[in-house]
């Protein structure tokens, strides 16, 4: 059963220069306890998908259509009060910059106990005690001392642990993590990924992991979505997509990532051209100017989704239905 189902979501930004389609007809599901990775380069709309789910789309952006079903309830239709409860309650969030997610003028323990009081109805005293426990649970040494630390007193890795602790202290069903390790060093990244896996197993929590790093995807996700210019290009089991990418963009992306230890024999081809400006998208398939397979049929209309075995879908004229 799907915990989260996003249906034909479209989020546009209405700018002076025109309409910017940051997310355009994106459909996917996240099941209970599952990790789904949302992969793409800059401007592919992956962050806006997360913001749309949480109703945090910054102005002048707007969700123009689509459904966001969380436990069968459309989050776009529920009351503000209900939404506020799910946000930070049943849905936790972790953002890229751990510094920006924490309020610099309060100690981290206080920020966490605030969340606990709000969403789990604890008293101040209970919440303070629970905060110590949760901080210890995310691997922060000496949690009794660190609850009183201000964000600036912690290192980047510790800060991200604190953010994760705050996001998960309400035992959410779904964690949305937007580039949670991009700002961190590899050694710290590895620890944070370990922590996320651990918490996920502990609370049977589903994760929507947004990242551009295919290494992180391979390590964490059971299923993945590939987005480009606001559109969904390919979706399927991580293993399948890595073994046999169908979409030329997914193929190109996989050929862009250097693999440690492969040496120089493994060619790093990348994709010619650059990610287009979202205000000047090419017509038809938005990838066709960079695609080596493209021909006349790709120029006019965006390809419809092809359905492939094992719940896999792919938007490409060159991929035939089963």
């Amino acid at each position: 059963m799907a915990l989260l189902r996003v249906e034909e979501l479209a989020t546009y930004f209405f700018l002076d220069e025109g309409e910017l389609r940051a997310v355009d007809d994106v459909t996917f599901e996240v099941n209970e306890g599952e990790t789904v990775a949302l992969v793409g380069e800059s401007g592919c709309g992956k962050t806006i998908v997360a913001m749309s789910i949480l109703d945090l789309v910054p102005w002048p952006g707007q969700i123009v259509r689509g459904k966001i079903l969380f436990r069968h309830e459309d989050l776009r239709r529920v009351t503000r009060e209900k939404l506020r409860q799910s946000r930070g309650g049943e849905i936790g969030m972790v953002f890229q910059e751990p510094g920006a997610a924490l309020n610099p003028v309060y100690p981290i323990g206080r920020q966490m106990s605030e969340v606990l009081q709000l969403h789990r109805g604890m008293s101040r005293h209970e919440a303070d005690r629970e905060a110590v426990r949760v901080l210890g649970g995310v691997g922060i040494p000496e949690p009794e001392k660190r609850v009183n630390a201000y964000p600036f007193e912690l290192s980047g890795g510790m800060r991200q642990r604190a953010v994760i602790a705050i996001a998960t202290c309400t035992r959410p069903r779904l964690l949305i993590a937007d580039e949670p390790t991009t700002a961190l060093d590899v050694t710290v990244q590895a620890e944070i990924l370990d922590l996320m896996r651990h918490l996920q197993a502990q609370y049977n929590m589903a994760t929507l992991l947004i990242t551009h790093d295919l290494g992180v995807v391979a390590e964490m996700a059971q299923r993945m979505l590939v987005m480009y210019t606001g559109k969904l290009f390919e979706l399927g089991r991580t293993q399948d997509l890595f073994d046999d990418p169908k979409h030329p963009y997914t193929q190109g992306l996989l050929h862009s990532v250097p693999r440690l230890g492969a040496g120089r024999d493994d060619p790093l081809t990348g994709i010619p051209g650059a990610v287009p400006d979202l205000l000047q998208l090419p017509g038809g398939c938005t990838f066709h100017p960079r695609c080596k397979l493209s021909d006349e049929e790709c120029v006019d209309e965006f390809p419809s989704m092809r359905t492939l075995p094992y719940g896999r879908v792919c938007a490409c004229y060159k991929v035939k239905d089963r």
């Binding site: 800059s42 890795g157 590899v186 295919l214 862009s256 693999r259 230890g261 040496g263 990348g270």
Partner: protein, 318 residues
């Protein structure tokens, strides 16, 4: 004689007020020895706070080092006055990480690329356009980009302009400070390809600074690993990736996520956090986090010594 020879380089930044309170020093670079030949690529790897960026800038004297020497073809760059340094600047150039910040926003691309040529009189009025065009072509951009402005270009294109600007000096030494980490994944390969092709064609010595070991593996002939302002290990790229000796290098390698869902590296876990670079150093800088640390590591600072042919390590235990 090698193109670049860095020895005992230290760059310390003052920290705290000069007149009030205590003044301490951040040891960003704390005694580094390096050599780089013409036509060679030296990868410099480290995490944030390791001092790799400061080292790159110290070599070019964009920050003033505290101590040590930087010899470019036998001339000590650090001993020259401003006036005599200038001709040397032509021979050493830099490509920065963020192409959105490294190009002057109000200048046309033509002027950005031609500025160094004019300064060093490498082109006259007549062949300037032709030379700019040639450089644009060499980084894979059409000639009409000459008339454009940085804000009209994508990140990858801007980074190519930054490379073209650096090369318009016709330098012998190029420092590339994370030249692709700000770019989209699919564009990184293009820019790396261009950088390496030009480096090879022109026989430039390239100091390639990066936090990403898998990128460095593709680019570098030799790799130096930095930690807390010091070199921990230096070796030919293959030896380092496949036979790292230093515990820190090993931990670093084991932490790189692999883009293959079925493959898992065995991970070496590190204790604790990067110590503050402002605290005075005693013993091995890595000792506080090293899984194998022993008493000697806490007492004595290890020297970078050749433990295998071509492979130098700063560790008591190897």
């Amino acid at each position: 004689m090698s193109l670049l020879q860095v020895s005992g380089l230290k760059t310390h930044f003052p920290f705290g007020s000069r007149w009030f309170g205590e003044r301490s020093w951040v040891r960003a670079v704390d005694g580094v020895d390096l050599g780089l030949d013409r036509g060679e690529v030296l990868g410099l790897v480290g995490e944030s706070g390791s001092g790799k960026t400061t080292l790159g800038r110290s070599v070019l004297r964009l920050v003033e080092p505290t101590d040590g020497s930087v010899m470019l073809d036998g001339v000590d760059v650090l001993k020259l006055g401003r006036r005599r340094l200038r001709p040397l600047r032509q021979r050493m150039q830099i490509v920065f990480q963020d192409p959105y910040a490294s190009l002057s926003p109000r200048l046309q691309i033509r002027r950005i690329i031609a500025e160094p040529m004019r300064l060093y009189r490498l082109a006259n009025k007549h062949d300037e356009s032709a030379k700019v065009e040639e450089l644009l072509e060499s980084v894979g951009l059409e000639p009409y980009f000459m008339q454009r402005y940085p804000h009209e270009m994508s990140g990858g294109q801007r980074q190519r302009i930054a490379i073209a600007r650096a090369l318009s000096c016709e330098p012998d030494l190029l420092v590339a400070d994370e030249p692709v980490s700000a770019l989209d994944v699919s564009v990184q390969a293009q820019v790396l390809g261009i950088l390496l092709r030009l480096q090879r064609e022109r026989g430039i010595g390239l100091l390639f600074i990066s936090h990403d070991l898998s990128v460095v593996e593709r680019v570098a002939d030799r790799v130096a690993v930095m930690y807390l302002g010091r070199i921990m290990e230096e070796a030919p790229v293959g030896d380092l990736i496949h036979g790292a000796l230093h515990p820190y290098t090993q931990a670093l390698l084991s932490a790189v996520p692999d883009p293959d869902p079925e493959y898992r590296r065995e991970r070496i876990r590190l204790r604790g956090e990067l110590p503050s670079p402002s605290e005075p150093l005693r013993g091995c800088p890595f000792a506080s986090r090293c899984p194998e640390a022993q008493q000697v590591c806490l007492d004595l600072t290890p020297k970078l010594e050749e433990k295998k042919p071509g492979q130098a390590v700063a560790c008591h235990l190897r």
